[in-house]
């Protein structure tokens, strides 16, 4: 049986030509290619490629929506890196959020994927339930959680009270506001990771487990020696995607805490929004956006670098 990895992709196989290709045919194909590509590539250039570069250019300006733009060189970046405590706070908050959110939502997503992957009846229903928070409108869910977190009448502290714990003031407590944001986000995203892990698990050939069972391997050993290595490419993808996504957290922070108390839950994207659209400093906001891009870029590159140490491709 040929595994998926050994089947060459059609694009990479030298194609057998119907007839020798003439220059006219080739021109035709190129023209057709650009016509098919046209609508997408024009939009792509105008709304993605050029804006990415433009964002960097704007970051060199003092760009005020009302007063106009003035070139100021690296001033925005200097202020950002050396003079802006709010940026530092937003940076640290985003890092803390990302590490905690990725670790928890990946671990929980994997654990639940393993449960849902059991060949028992009704697993489709459970899978639907676990994915439900992911598809539901974040603004709506943030409102619900905001209420669950209320210190006196909120469900969470009421429940904690039943077991004798005096719950914190969550969203208005600068220590607990960030964990509160993280819990909501983990709850919302673990289902997405579960689906990816589930697909990865179902790609593991059954005969590997059968062979291990014949050899008398325990469930724990099968998990460690088959499931984890075979799942490592999926794990890599889930971690990369989760980190990129977590760096962009915005909706929850805006709706639940608006970045507060103080700057306790101000994330980088929220800070871009505040400086760019609430204060109107487009140039400065652009420099924050590029800082965000740089961080995401560095993290992604590092992950691709170290993946060969722990990811095994079959």
């Amino acid at each position: 049986m040929a595994s998926r990895a050994t089947v060459p992709r059609p694009a990479e196989t030298p194609r057998t030509e119907l007839a020798p290709r003439s220059w006219r045919q080739r021109d035709h194909e190129t023209l057709a290619a650009y016509l098919f590509l046209g609508p997408n590539i024009i939009g792509f250039l105008i709304f993605t490629a050029i804006p990415v570069v433009a964002a960097l250019v704007i970051a060199f300006y003092d760009w005020d929506l009302l007063l106009g733009a003035k070139f100021i060189g690296l001033e925005n970046f200097r202020e950002l890196l050396f003079d802006d405590e709010n940026f530092r706070a937003a940076f640290v908050n985003t890092m803390v959020f990302t590490v905690a959110n990725v670790a928890l939502s990946v671990a929980i997503g994997l654990a639940i994927a393993l449960l849902v992957n059991l060949s028992l009846r009704g697993m489709v229903l459970f899978r639907s339930i676990f994915l439900l928070p992911y598809v539901t409108v974040t603004v709506a869910l943030s409102l619900v959680w905001k209420w669950l977190y209320l210190p006196e009448v909120g469900l969470i502290n009421q429940t904690l009270g039943l077991v004798g714990i005096d719950g914190p003031r969550w969203l208005t407590d600068s220590t607990w506001a960030m964990p509160a944001l993280i819990f909501l986000s983990v709850w919302k995203t673990f289902g997405y990771n579960m689906v990816l892990f589930l697909a990865g698990l179902q790609n593991i050939p059954e005969h590997l487990y059968d062979a291990a069972k014949v050899d008398g391997a325990s469930a724990a050993q099968r998990f460690r020696d088959i499931t984890l290595p075979m799942l490592s490419p999926t794990m890599f993808f889930v971690v990369v995607i989760s980190i990129i996504g977590s760096f962009q957290v915005f909706d929850q922070a805006l709706v639940m805490t608006a970045g507060g108390p103080g700057t306790a839950t101000t994330t980088l994207v929220l800070y871009i929004y505040q400086r760019g659209f609430q204060s109107g400093y487009m140039g400065y906001a652009s420099s924050i956006a590029w800082a965000l891009f740089a961080v995401v870029f560095v993290f992604t590159v590092i992950q691709f670098r170290i993946q060969r140490r722990w990811v095994s491709y079959d």
Binding site: E29, A49, V135, V137, Q158, I226
Partner: protein, 301 residues
């Protein structure tokens, strides 16, 4: 037949010892195990659903009952009128219509442009194809917020702020859709096309009559994915919509929150109004949506 990749040596050596012990316990474990799994799953599913159940139940409570301590689960008296009140307090009908218009238009445009470009990348040969495709792939890593400010300034220059086209057009071209469909098109046997080419079919005819009909599942998957993403999208409409006329429901709900900060029963009813259509759609189109996530995960292979 053993697989050469399997670490048989280590497994084999350590496991001989307790094989007999396990054989004795196995029947018991085999009967009990499903119950443990079900208990865990039901508990976790309940935990997952609590906030959503709570939202629905609260939306039917009276304002007095909402602030009761300890809180009640089931409403003492049911107040479906909360939904009417929320509906009347803010133009939710308008918000929902705006959302459908924006999400629907982005879905249609993005699916079409992605399919066309994906066919080009998957099947046609032209100078610069590989570099262009790499550029597309590279942008998948760029946070959307990086393009936010230049896009906004462009919209302002065009006078598109607070218009449908301003909400729709900049969102309608994605590298993601192109990438996803290209992978799918690559899996369609080339022989089908070659036969049509011998019969003198043009590229366009091949695309329309062979590729598209065979790609129904992939197109549906992408469409559902885009629609749900657009329904949830907050940041772009938040900076683009200044009036009720264009505001989608996510932005409308946030504005509603500002006005009715403590009327939790109304807020929950409003949250329910924003959520219900998308949950209904999820339940119907779930299969495509799950596929969309899985397809986006082939990057892991």
């Amino acid at each position: 037949m053993t697989d050469p990749r399997l670490p048989t040596g280590r497994l084999g050596a350590t496991m001989r010892a307790d094989v007999t012990a396990r054989d004795r316990t196995k029947p018991l474990m085999a009967t009990v195990w499903p119950y443990i799994a079900y208990a865990a799953l039901i508990g976790l599913a309940f935990l997952t659903l609590i906030p959503i159940i709570w939202m629905v139940l609260t939306s039917f409570k009276s304002s007095a009952e909402v602030s009761a301590s300890p809180p009640t689960w089931l409403p003492a008296t049911w107040h479906p009128g909360n939904y009417r009140d929320a509906w009347n307090a803010a133009p939710f009908g308008r918000y929902l219509a705006n959302t459908v218009i924006v999400a629907g238009s982005v879905m249609i445009l993005e699916t079409i442009t992605s399919a066309l470009a994906a066919y080009s990348f998957a099947r046609l040969r032209f100078p610069g194809r590989d570099i262009l495709f790499l550029a597309y792939l590279g942008t998948l890593m760029i946070p959307r917020q990086v393009t936010l400010i230049p896009q906004f300034i462009l919209m302002r220059e065009l006078g598109w702020i607070d218009t449908y086209q301003g909400l729709i057009i900049p969102q309608a071209f994605s590298a993601f859709g192109t990438f996803l469909l290209r992978q799918y098109f690559l899996g369609i046997p080339r022989e089908l096309e070659d036969a049509a080419r011998i019969d003198g079919a043009s590229r366009w005819e091949i695309f329309r009559r062979i590729i598209l009909p065979l790609s129904g599942p992939a197109l549906a998957t992408l469409a559902v994915f885009i629609f749900l993403f657009q329904w949830n999208n907050l940041l772009w409409p938040l900076v683009m919509s200044n009036s009720e006329g264009t505001r989608p429901v996510a932005v409308g709900l946030r504005a509603f929150q500002g006005q009715y900060a403590t009327d939790w029963n109304l807020l929950m009813a409003a949250a329910g109004l924003a959520t219900l259509p998308v949950v209904a759609m999820y339940l119907v189109a779930q299969r495509w949506f799950v596929r969309g996530i899985t397809l986006s995960g082939f990057g892991g292979r």
